[in-house]
Subunit: 335 residues, 6 copies
């Protein structure tokens, strides 16, 4: 199985430790983006992967490519050129203080790229799965058009398509997102979403009289599946009393059946990348044809583990995820 | 509104991370002191501020001044000269291990300064509020005398005076503190105190038969208010099962009414500066004429947020404090 | 009182912070080993100590010796020579992610040393107590033989012998460990063990019908004491829901009496060295002839505090341990 | 004397030490720009300063402002708003390897600002000197127009104007620079330039038959002075055999007289900011009315010292520059 | 053109900055080995490369592989298994203090691997060039045998073979090296050597009456070429007055012609990897069929640049090497 | 041979790298003092040593003691108590920028200690050599008196006494130093001095008509020897064109013979501790009874090497010093 993804990889510039932006001169620069993160999760599980984006011809872009290559991701279809690379400044929250992100991704090469710059036929050679998120079409109209091309090509080749809704209100309005995403939804085989985004983008909500949260998730999943004819829907659930402690779980809907994972109380080492890790775990598990319960447990365990790992990528092995998914604790040193 | 403060700012020398003093050669040096910290909180909220102290003519003192200036504090009334700057070595506690402080502040320029070195008329030009803490008069008899001068000048100009009792048993005895502070209390309009210090310094305690803790705080606040004719009293409450987790709240007493804030369970990034952040938040809220409930909630939310911020200063905005005070959590990334 | 110990001290190579092995190029190198760690705990409590091992003639071994000397441990009986020093790579776990250790200790000088290289008569001069753990005989047959020599010499001089079972399945099988350890057990006066290791090595288990965990510990302690004629047995208990939070306690058995310590919920700064800190605390308390309850409370408080200290060693004072053992919290700054 | 400057301050993002961009994840972020650097030099010498630019409303811009404020620069005339802040990535060269800069300053708030956004009358209140460099008009046509406004206002108020040519071929062509700068030159009282830029922009070159380098500098200075009616011209000279070792000197021309400074062989701690330090030193010395030889020696000594200081700013005192300018070495520890 | 190499890649463990081994707990771990370094140089120049070695199945070995993959080296023929990975501790010298290396590479997986574990037919598929150094056969008799297999397979496929003598007296005696290397020399097309090693291993020395150093190099090159029938010989020359400053040059001999490069005075950022960078540059230049003078100038410029780059690898581009080789200095910032 | 020393050991607080005091919050704390540094040099050479001082009872003092113990220095005669430990802030110079020191050593425990607090009889048990410097009597009159006691006790026991003049004008005037030192000189057997201090303190200068520098050193040595009846005098010579590059040499005078060492051009990693390293090397060489030429070459080679080592201590071995003293360069890696 070989998985392709299309999106933006940015330089992430973070103050060391728990310092706020104006408190320190020491920053760490890593590279990440929702689709690249999910792909690297897959690569860490041993899967074959190929990443498509556009990056400028400079050493910072080169550094991003090195990260992808180090993890075994095929970057031979990355288009080079353009003015600049997207950046984001990211401050780590703690306790009552939220994590904070300053985006500086406008005018990035990938947002400015014309759809015709990508050769999807070539990129999808040997590919069985295509993953994208709602961030990619939000970057620019050209990005949305390129993504549509990619989806059509993928469909034509019988490639399975997964999408993580990932609505970002700072990139586009819910209204515009709803319109653009609706057009793209018809290609989607596996959709990852949370309840809030389903409502904002597509008006998909639980019935007005539902008070039980889990029943609400079920209704949203079923309605979304029906509305866009999507066979598999995963609803992700996160509740966070503060920046240091979150709870995560998810529910998988397929063929009128619902599978709810266990809930993990996670102590956050790194807040970014949890959803992408879930996507990576989900795709890997689905590609391996596991039973639905194992699929959703693997995906959520991957998400939980991710929050204990620094950086955007889920640097864990299949064995580590399975150990957690099987209920073993982490209190012992692994010698 | 413009706020003045008088006190000592020290170089704080801390081992990196959770290392003990003798375990590492890597230290961080920042600059702080109770009054300066409160003032910088205010400056971060956008208020005008002026800081008075005495510092020697050397580069370490210069570094402290740069910190104050970077935050917009007016330091043009800082007296320069003397032998040395106060220092403290501060080791960060964790879990069952307490934070530990070694003071090396004796012989500091501010402690050795003569009252006549300060020009309070000049320093208080345009000032509406004067803040000090019980640490300043504890530094030396000269400091206590200078502070008395400052209070008299402030009073003469109709300046509101706030005081944080901040009794430090390693600087002076409760007996001496009681005597000196009693003299100063007559100038105070807003007093911040905890129950223990009220008892130690002024013999102000709950009635012997009181068992309810909140009732005890109320009695102490009312008695303190009556004894020294202080219109506004804030009783701060902190309970800490260990060095990593504390609970904080406060109660504001005014005009025979009591307002108790919500209680925050805080995971401690930085233990130092919580009380000073509360003072800064309180002064800001009172200066803005908010209702009493909003005042105490803002002050305690400021304190809670402070513990998630590295260093002595409360590097947060009014909006961030208000978001927390209004009950919103911090689980989401702020993009 | 002077305590000797024999074992291996390794260079411990750890990625900075919470990074995984392949994520960073920044590592910290410290030096530790079960017996050296316990000895340094004792030295930090003010006790006289002497450490026996074999180390090669190179600068990394020199660095390990400097650590021991800095803490006041006598290293004049360390044998020098051989090919290499044992190493281990150690990745810090967090939340659901386990700590991970890669050993590279094979072919180390101490494992390759012949029993005849040690002069136990000289090393035990003035020594009253000898401590070792089950790791030492696991290193090689020569190590086991040298340890037997040491035990015999110690016994001949009336030295008290303590042993921490410390079974490591990656070094030897439970079967072999059972055989070798059985031979060594006859010299032991104080044995530290956990329930699992007692069962694996010696078949010492609670009766089949026991469901109460504490009753199980009591039975194991009594049976172990009887089987090997060991006057004092300590059963250590650790439960860890995840890598960041553990609970620790212990039970001391002597003369048919049982003393169970309080249980500490520890937030883990450093996972390694807890058991060694307990051993250090136990030996110190026993050497001081304290009552049995104080002994076990001191030992467990030492273990709890250790987890708040970076590195392998328990860098705390007797006063700090006693403060915790006496029930005082750590919420206050110690000024 | 109070000096104003107008330009762009960028976040400078540099790999730690001598690492290349793709070799490390550790970067330092400082803030600098040619005009801000010169102004901070002046502020470090004790002069009054005011900086004009446009910066977005985010925390990274706030950090830049804090740096300016910490040094005492008045930032109350900085316009706030716009999309982004200019950045540059800067890799430190060594020996045979050149320093390398990747600019990401396009679309910055200052480049996109309309001339009408600046209130020059207000900004120049109390100002006697205005400094700018050839980078500012290169940022955008709007910047060039705003600068022209500033020059006209300055001239109308009798403010002395200094300009550092600072031609940057990656921002605009020599042809366009020549046209725009020619228009601005008529306002300039003090011009800092190197021989190469004079030729590229204005065709000002030594006579064809001149072989002596110093004679060439003299001719260029005189011709430039005559062509634009600029009373004072400084020609800077730098020769660098490699990235670690440069030689710097300068020549001041005024009233048909030439003053050549001594030449410093500098071992480079930091390559950036040398020319800005020279500008700061020159302006300070001219403002103090020193004799011309002292002026040029002070300016070049400031430049030489700068290369021993980390970051963009010249963090040195008047006394330190004078000590060097007076010929004293630096071999002794200053206790 | 595709180049293969066979050798050992080790974890290199270096104290931060200029600290000595026992002075710090902060170390950097990078990964390098003579053949891998040369290969990564080639990969940085854009060439296709494949690396053969044996590495254990653990995370540190994984980290080494990630480095190779990040640079685009094909590692699919690396054999996995065995006990441990080779290490070396490396202390950076300065001025009069030499750099110091402690090897801990004995028992490494590659040294213990049997020749039959490698599949040279598969590894050399599509390969045109094979590079090895005298370190590989020194690791063990099995390594020497495996290398002989590799050379035979390469020869059979018409692959060009280059060898860097790289005699290491701490791995084997000159006598044994002479014997083993003599057998391997018959396969070599391009040999890199220094005068001293030619004498020690093969008795190849300048005539006794030669006093001119360059004439000596010429004689050694010609004699070596004749003795082993090697068409191309490069003699490398390094003189180092101290650890911070070295001079490097080289001479290429082919077809009875000699080409001597310019000499670079290099200020050492990193001492390790100079020779490997020369090898990488030489192979690249030869593969491109450049004229002999350009070949040797490119190779030595690559070596010189390497010493300005941290770590074992020569992280520079073809353009950067050519700029230096063409005589341009590095005094200017490359914007 | 066992060497004692008496003096002050301070915490040295240094900004990281080449940052100036107000530029960074990252500092390194090490521990040093002229006499302790010389003693640790000796200990690194394998000599037995004992250090006498007074230090307060706190963790920073404990850290200083650990450094001494780690190097094998006997600290059992260090008196504990008093208010504070001496500190100094030390900024590293570079190129044209001088290193800068801010002392904060007044009121230190050792300066405030009464002579009667030291038990010289006990401290000198088994001691053959006593070393002190002119800094110790400068700390306070009590220190001078205690030193006199020490000298008398030493003399009474036949202990050889060495003194490094080390005049520090910021601690006392030349006039007072001259008086106090004159009284102490009568006990000195080996005196280390530079020409300038001999003149300032004792009026010992070359004849007025001497122009040759070396002849001047000879006269000063002989006159000093005669004036105070000191058998062995070493004149140290340092010339520094800038902070990064110094030249060091020395001359030994004894029995009317002069031995001048070679001169080392040193590239400075660390400026502090060179003279103390010379003292350590000199004492070691004299104790070993080497010939005078070897003595002075060893001492100066130790000094030169020291400048390549971070921190105050000369962390080098006898073999390393001898290698340099014998004329071998440092260009090769020591494997």
């Amino acid at each position: 199985m070989k998985t392709a993804a299309f999106g933006e990889i940015m330089a992430r510039i973070s103050p060391e430790g728990y310092y706020r932006f104006a408190q320190t001169d020491r920053f760490q620069i890593t590279y990440g983006g929702a689709e690249a993160n999910a792909l690297i999760s897959l690569a860490n599980f041993g899967a074959e992967t190929v990443y498509v984006t556009k990056l400028p011809e400079n050493d910072m872009a080169e550094a991003a490519l090195r990260q992808l290559k180090a993890h075994g991701v095929d970057v031979s279809h990355v288009v080079r050129g353009g003015e600049r690379m997207g950046l984001y400044f990211c401050e780590r929250g703690a306790a009552q203080r939220s994590s904070k992100v300053i985006y500086d991704r406008k005018y990035a090469a990938v947002a400015a790229a014309k759809p015709s710059e990508y050769d999807w036929e070539a990129a999808f050679e040997g590919v069985n799965w295509f993953h994208w998120t709602g961030i990619t079409p939000a970057l620019s109209d050209d990005c949305a058009a390129a993504l549509l091309d990619a989806c059509r090509t993928a469909k034509a080749h019988g490639v399975t398509i997964s999408c993580d809704l990932n609505f970002r209100s700072n990139l586009w309005s819910a209204e515009k997102a709803g319109k653009v995403m609706t057009q793209l939804m018809e290609y989607v085989d596996v959709c990852i979403a949370n309840e809030e985004h389903c409502g904002l983008l597509f008006g998909v909500k639980p019935d007005a009289d539902v008070t039980d949260r889990e029943e609400g998730y079920k209704q949203v999943a079923r309605k979304l599946s029906l509305q866009f004819n999507i066979p598999t829907v995963v609803i992700t659930v996160r509740s966070g009393k503060n920046s240091s402690d979150n709870s995560v779980s998810a529910m998988l809907y397929k063929d009128n059946e619902y599978f709810t994972s266990r809930t993990y109380d996670v102590h956050i080492v790194e807040r970014i990348g949890g959803g992408d890790a879930l996507a990576g775990g989900l795709i890997y598990a689905l590609q391996n044809g596991w039973c639905r319960r194992d699929v959703i447990e693997f995906a959520v365990a991957a998400e939980a583990l991710k929050h204990s790992v620094e950086g955007d990528y889920n640097e864990v092995s299949v064995a580590e995820v399975q150990t957690l998914a099987s209920g073993a604790g982490a209190g012992r040193v692994q010698r």
